[in-house]
């Protein structure tokens, strides 16, 4: 049965249903148990499973370290990092421990953990609560970075993340929590490592993830009135990336616009652009354009934050530039 629920609720439901199914799954993090999480995402879990929900001290390295160790014993920890920006204090545990355990144990065991983290800007929380940390993780072989844009994707991908034997960083964009969408009540999973063609089109390939997908949809709508047909691709798993879907699309359209929250320099748009430039140069009809945040820390004042974040006007501009090239 389909219902309309929020992105937040979809995540909560995924955890509930997986915990129901597999007693090796538990949740751990700051305020995730009794309070149900700083953003309320894990509410109800501790009540149902008081021995499988753990409030911790402010010790992110210990949270990830413990999760890795427990995973080596066959458990399936779902850890919450609260704000993704806090990944800095446990970065070593993520990149040098979680990411490498499968390789170190030759697949006999691995860091089968999920690290849920709230990412992105837009709520006036400045430098340390607004960052897009995706690129900090995407150069680390062994990690998986998942980034849903809809409640449906959030539930299905989180279920797959929990079942995966790889360490999955599951990014929840704070701007999406209240977003509603159709979500089956039953337990289902969605494949990792597969991009989604959100909309079919022939003239421009728009790549966008998380809250940027809305920009892409809006642009596609606007442009369709001008007779320009956009294909929208949401990678869903940012890393390892489903290269093929993007390559196939750009091979068809010849034009690429990437909308990416977070600083431009060395954002993942860079990799997508280079991948295309390297692999299908002969199909390209125009320069690629990146619409991104500015290369600054995130300021607090609303006007400043809005200015730093990607602008819809720039999406439009980029699209007309690649069309008129």
């Amino acid at each position: 049965m389909n219902r309309t629920i929020t992105f937040a609720k979809a995540i909560n439901e995924a955890i509930h249903q997986e915990m129901d199914r597999d007693e090796k799954v538990f949740i751990i993090g700051e305020d995730v148990a009794k309070m149900g999480g700083d953003f309320g995402i894990t509410s109800g879990i501790w009540k149902k499973w008081p021995h499988r929900a753990f409030d911790t001290a402010l010790s992110e390295s210990a949270i990830i370290g413990l999760s890795c160790g427990a995973a080596l014993c066959g458990l399936r920890p779902v850890a919450e990092l609260m704000f993704a920006d806090f990944i800095g204090v446990c970065y070593d545990q993520i990149v040098n421990n979680a990411a490498k355990l499968c390789y170190m144990f030759e697949g006999k065991a691995s860091a089968q953990i999920v690290v849920r983290a709230v990412t992105g800007g837009g709520i006036r929380c400045a430098y340390h609560h607004s960052q897009c940390i995706e690129p900090w993780l995407m150069n680390i072989p062994g990690l998986v970075v998942v980034a849903p844009a809809t409640p449906y994707e959030a539930k299905g991908l989180l279920v797959s993340a929990i079942r995966s034997n790889n360490p999955v960083i599951f990014l929840e964009h704070k701007g999406l929590y209240n977003k509603k969408g159709d979500v089956p009540e039953e337990l289902y999973d969605l494949p990792l490592y597969e991009s989604k063609v959100v909309r079919k089109g022939n003239d421009i390939t728009l790549v966008a993830a998380m809250s940027m997908v809305d920009f892409a949809l809006r642009a596609a709508e606007d442009l369709s009135k001008e007779g320009v047909s956009c294909e929208i691709i949401n990678p869903l798993t940012l890393f390892p990336l489903d290269k093929e879907t993007i390559i196939n699309s750009v091979a068809k359209t010849g034009r690429l616009v990437i909308i990416q929250e977070g600083p431009k320099f060395m954002g993942y748009a860079a990799e997508i652009g280079s991948m295309v430039y390297e692999d299908i140069f002969e199909y390209l009809k125009a320069p690629m354009k990146r619409v991104t945040s500015l290369d600054t820390p995130m300021p607090f004042s609303p006007g400043l934050e809005d200015y730093v974040m990607p602008q819809y006007a720039d999406v439009k501009k980029a699209c007309s530039e690649v069309m008129s090239f």
Binding site: D31, A57, L58, S59, Y127, L294, S301, L304
Partner: protein, 329 residues
């Protein structure tokens, strides 16, 4: 120790200022005028006022995320309105509206600012303490940290290094019972968090953080040790935040009656009754202080409300000290 009547009156005024400042911030946060998250320090005024009172302007101060009080009191009176303007995100804010509530620094008075990552200033503060040692000055460093923050690994690295090198660093551990929803006894093994410092052979004590005389006395002792080169001290100040973790948090995790019992121990009320009963100051005089403070803070508010927003150019300045960053074209 007893402090003089004048001294007690002064810090009473300080506490009243914090309380009023926070009340106004709370109101404008709740009504949506102030953007972002706000962590209020109502109930914790004695710890903030008492510590700042014992410091000189050239001592280094690291407020925490619940630090409006310490920030306002560290600042020069003429700058206080710019602190409120900062919280409103205005161009006239002391940091141009760029930092907001959680990121207010003021080099003039050596308020070194907060970093939104808990435990970060606990190691940054090693550096200012180290600078005093390196430059042979007698400035001490005070870092405020919460009971929850003590969970971070940086606390260990900081304490270990400060203790080994006997740096002039004072850890003011504000134990307001909770880290968001988590009671300190659920995340730490000690009954008294101050005991943690004993593992480093660092002097520490747990004090009533709502009694400003006790706060001042304990801080003075720690500062003396630090200035004499005897190294760090940790002071655990027991207190309570009356509001939720952030303004708007219903704080459903608190047992019934807990807030009320702590309101009984209100640091301002306690000091007020001491001033009246021991020092014979009239209620009228104290009311006058209250009214003057309200006017004062009303001034900050009007300034903040009337101030312009930053211009978008402000977003791209000072990413680097020497080169510029592109804005939008």
């Amino acid at each position: 120790m007893t402090i003089t009547k004048e001294h007690l009156l002064k810090v009473y005024q300080d506490m009243v200022l914090i309380r009023r400042f926070e009340e106004v911030v709370e109101k404008y946060s709740k009504n949506g005028t102030i953007p972002g998250f706000i962590h209020l320090s109502i109930g914790q005024e004695a710890a903030q006022a008492g510590v700042i009172d014992t410091l000189k302007e050239t001592d280094y101060k690291f407020p925490d995320h619940r630090g409006h009080g310490a920030i306002v009191l560290s600042s020069r009176p003429e700058d206080r309105k710019t602190i409120m303007a900062e919280i409103f995100g205005k161009k006239t804010g002391i940091n141009g509206g760029r930092g907001g509530s959680m990121h207010i620094n003021d080099l003039k008075v050596r308020n070194m600012g907060f970093n939104g990552i808990q435990g970060s200033t606990v190691v940054t503060s090693l550096g200012t303490a180290f600078a005093s040692f390196y430059n042979h000055t007698d400035d001490v460093t005070v870092v405020f940290m919460g009971d929850g923050t003590l969970g971070e690994g940086t606390c260990h690295e900081s304490m270990n290094m400060a203790a080994t090198w006997k740096l002039p660093l004072i850890y003011v551990l504000i134990n307001n019972q909770y880290a968001i929803s988590t009671k300190y006894t659920e995340s730490h093994p000690q009954e008294y968090l101050a005991d943690w410092a004993k593992g480093y052979l660092v002097p520490s004590e747990t004090i009533d953080g709502n009694d400003i005389e006790v706060v001042i006395e304990s801080t003075q002792k720690a500062i003396e040790r630090a200035r004499k080169g005897e190294g760090p001290t940790l002071i655990e100040m027991m207190t309570y935040r009356w509001q939720g973790h952030f303004s708007g948090d219903p704080a459903a995790y608190r047992p019934q009656g807990e807030l009320e019992s702590w309101k009984e121990k209100c640091p301002i009320k306690q000091t007020k009754s001491k001033l009246m009963n021991i020092y014979g100051i009239s209620e009228l005089d104290l009311d006058l202080i209250q009214r003057k403070t309200e006017d004062e803070v009303e001034g900050y508010l009007q300034f903040s409300l009337a101030s312009p927003w930053p211009s978008t150019d402000d977003a791209t300045s000072w990413v680097y000290s020497d080169i510029s960053v592109e804005g939008r074209k």
